[in-house]
């Protein structure tokens, strides 16, 4: 129940909080005061990672399906851009026009995601993690071994976004705004989906699949459609990712990257679409500046510890900490303990899978 009051009570679009205006303004004006490094390597990169994690948040938060294959889906889209479009390696690179390449890449990624969904939805809960992890690792080994199509260990380089309207889209500022627009659109889309009949059905299936089945809903189909939609999000982010890096290789879809996406979503918080972006910003900042705190080599230990602490002490991530602080603050001011309970999100928000 607590999960729904995000969406039913105060609609996030009609009554926009002043703080939200400020955040939006900050993101729009960000390149004006940030250096190129901060605009591109920090700003755009966090937004891309956030968008991929958003696709995971949509599946996990609303559908209760924790898929570890989201980076794999994004990676497939990235690979397809390199294969169908142009690259400088000399393998594949069919030279399709950019719009056809992008549309094909995104749609293929979405279909791949739906396929992953179709494989995993027949099983419940914990199985989903295992199956999607197995798919992700298998994809990694496959692209590493396959030279004919994916150019094996080296992968592809020299993948460029098109020059359109006289703008070279890989320049930091245009690229930042492109990514920002995509991220904002998908953030809005996820809000919209969550409040639609489909989204409500998905959330109801998460809470009690058996009852929804008895009510006549086609549970697996609902879930597969959710996978398809999340595949569109992840695929689009994958296209942006390959434009951002200019290259893609098996390392881009390796296990550590796949798990990074999960870390970002969990650390940010999976109960609200903003969570993944919060997590992504934290992750990218840590990735770039942990070098000042500790040895660069031990970055994974730091990120693992952060992840461990969040999972142990705040299962709903940074957002959960924020909500709890807010609730405590309010309760202290009004001295109404019952209100605190009403605002406190469920403690087991990442959820147990047993529905019995």
């Amino acid at each position: 129940m607590a999960g729904r009051n995000w969406f039913s009570g105060d609609s996030p679009l009609s009554g926009i909080h002043p703080a939200q205006w400020l955040v939006a303004l900050f993101f729009l004006a960000y390149p004006a005061f940030a250096s190129d490094f901060f605009t591109y390597q920090i700003g755009a990169y966090s937004l891309i990672l956030g968008t991929i994690s958003l696709s995971l948040m949509m599946l996990a938060g609303y559908g209760g399906m924790v898929s570890l294959a989201q980076m794999t889906v994004a990676g497939l889209a990235g690979y397809l851009v390199a294969i169908l479009g142009d690259n400088s390696v000399g393998v594949m690179g069919l030279g399709w026009p950019w719009w056809l390449t992008v549309v094909t890449a995104i749609l293929s990624a979405a279909l791949f995601s739906a396929f992953i969904g179709a494989i995993s939805v027949r099983t419940e809960g914990i199985y989903t993690i295992m199956i999607t992890l197995a798919i992700a690792v298998a994809f990694f080994y496959f692209v590493r071994q396959n030279y004919a199509l994916f150019n094996g260990f080296t992968g592809f380089a020299g993948v460029e976004p098109p020059t359109l309207f006289g703008v070279y889209w890989r320049d930091p500022v245009p690229f930042y705004y492109l990514v920002l627009a995509v991220a904002a659109f998908f953030l809005w889309a996820v809000f919209y989906i969550a409040r639609s009949t489909f989204g409500l059905g998905l959330q109801a299936i998460r809470d009690n699949p058996r009852r929804m089945h008895a009510l006549g809903y086609h549970v697996p189909f609902h879930r597969i459609v959710a996978y398809f939609l999340s595949g569109i999000i992840a695929g689009t982010a994958g296209v942006l990712m390959v434009w951002f890096n200019g290259r893609i290789s098996p390392g881009s879809v390796g296990v550590d990257v796949v798990i990074d996406i999960l870390v970002i979503a969990v650390v940010g918080g999976m109960r609200h679409p903003v969570g993944p972006f919060l997590g992504a910003i934290g992750f990218v900042l840590l990735e770039n500046f942990a070098i000042d705190l500790i040895d660069r080599e031990r970055f994974n230990t730091v990120i693992g510890l952060a992840f461990l602490l969040v999972v142990l002490f705040s299962p709903d991530g940074l957002l959960g900490i924020w909500n709890r602080l807010k609730a405590r603050f309010r309760a202290g001011r009004r001295a109404r303990p019952d209100r605190e309970r009403a605002n406190d999100p469920e403690p087991a928000s990442t959820g147990s899978f047993t529905n019995q």
Binding site: G125, I129, I259, V311, L312
Partner: protein
Amino acid sequence: MRQFIERHTFWAIVILLAIAVLLWLIFAVWPEWLVDFAGRKKTFVNTLLNGLTLGGLYFLVASGFTLIFGLMRNVNLAHGSMYLLGAYIGYEVAEASGSWFLGLAVAFVAVAISGVALQTLVFRRMEGDDLRQTLVTIAISIIAADLMLAVWTGTTYQFSPPEWLFGAAELPVVSVIRSSGDAVYIKYPVYRLTVLGVAVAVGIALWLFLNRTRIGMMIRAGVNDRDMLAASGVNVPLVFALVFGIGAGLAGFAGVVGGTALSIAPGEDVRYLLASLIVVIVGGLGSITGAAVGALIIGLAEQFGLAYFPTYGVVLTFLIMVVVLAVRPQGIMGGRR
């Protein structure tokens, strides 16, 4: 057995025929047309044996994984890290003491202790919350992989097992008959055959332990109904810790056995985690027999894929998983939950 033949006569005949064909393929001298069609017999028999030994190794790793899940409903994604940790510890001890067997024993015990610590310190805090437990194991595997990289660096290590495990054994299988009339026998490394033997022994020991001892009875009861077991006066947390210890210890044990057969390097943890995942998905989560069947299928599939169509070997493994999930989502030996 008899019941099975009576109930599924058709399948019994198919299985018997398949076994007969397989035996013929192994022991007969291949005629010309078969060699033209499927390559040399030596390749086939070697691939078969490689697949069997790899399956044995996978069984060693996956049995611990599935044992832990069966009782605690806890998917331990740090299982691959335990494999690698066992391998490193075993290597250090074997190098320091000069005894490979001591390394094996210490690896088992040390990783078992780490497993018990994990169970008591972390999992007991969040019982019944499967997703959180799984996330914690992911976090632990990230940290463990990074720390192991820091301690043992990216170098590849190679065990030196005892002398008598080295070398090749001549199998009573004829590969070709020379024109002079001499038969050429197929040779195979002794160590790999030992791996297979160890896997079978561990499998039988686990079966006996689970089905013939008092503690095994408690574990089986815990799999079926944890609360009833606690209500009948058994110290369930103790049983949990014990099972976690054995499961983790098996991973460490497999680390030394597998590290000797192949080698130890960073990244092996992910490889064996993937293997365990696919083995238990195919075989059925929580079933030891399922782990054996799954390990055999995946080991064979991987080796045959590698020998006969190299770049698409992973796809074969993956396809097996997809087909099993489509036909029998709970796995070949998995019961309905």
